[in-house]
Amino acid sequence: AQSVTQPDIHITVSEGASLELRCNYSYGATPYLFWYVQSPGQGLQLLLKYFSGDTLVQGIKGFEAEFKRSQSSFNLRKPSVHWSDAAEYFCAVGAVFSGNQFYFGTGTSLTVIP
């Protein structure tokens, strides 16, 4: 069965520090991987996506993620966190072909302290 695990429910970092949010997936076929960000009371915005090719993908707002097939992981990173990055972050896995399910992890809440 498909699943996505985000082991960290909540993370607190200082502004300017580096950030890594963990994501592990279980998927029977070739996965299509995503990171989304959600501000309080809002919908989800796509940060980046991966299907194939270079395993290090760049996204918006200075985020990047690395796909590691051997570890079934797709961790999100940012070298220097800004206070505006405080939000909820969701990792997701979807089928290569649309029309099928799109599964999300339980999310990681990020707090940024000055």
Binding site: Q6, I9, Y32, F34, Y36, G41, Q42, G43, L44, Q45, L46, K49, F51, F90, A92, G94, V96, F97, S98, G99, N100, Q101, F102, Y103, F104, G105, T106, G107
Partner: protein, 113 residues
């Protein structure tokens, strides 16, 4: 450009009352449509998805139902709300075909009292 509209933004309903949440997509045709529920601390749970008019797939047994009466309209309903139906409901769409991400509406905060 494509946009997705979801309403209402907030809703407070008594237990046992009916529910109707609507989602429409503009600027595209034949999208795949999804309803998710987000409960506190539980992430996003896929409730229903649809690949075409009248075609609904349910992911979990529950008190809710979905319908797609038109190509770009997706409705989430309940005949009698339960307290456990409270949550944040998100509609999303995805293009048909390969390598497409999902785009989300702004959500509906439902509180059942």
């Amino acid at each position: 450009s494509q946009t997705i509209h979801q309403w209402p933004a907030t809703l407070v309903q008594p237990v046992g009352s009916p529910l109707s949440l609507e989602c429409t997509v503009e600027g595209t045709s034949n999208p795949n449509l999804y309803w998710y529920r987000q409960a506190a601390g539980r992430g996003l749970q896929l409730l229903f998805y649809s690949v075409g008019i009248g075609q609904i797939s349910s992911e979990v047994p529950q008190n809710l139902s979905a319908s797609r009466p038109q190509d770009r309209q997706f409705i989430l309903s309940s005949k009698k709300l339960l307290l456990s139906d409270s949550g944040f409901y998100l509609c999303a769409w995805r293009r048909q075909g390969r390598l497409t991400e999902a785009f989300f509406g702004q959500g509906t905060r439902l509180t059942v009292v």
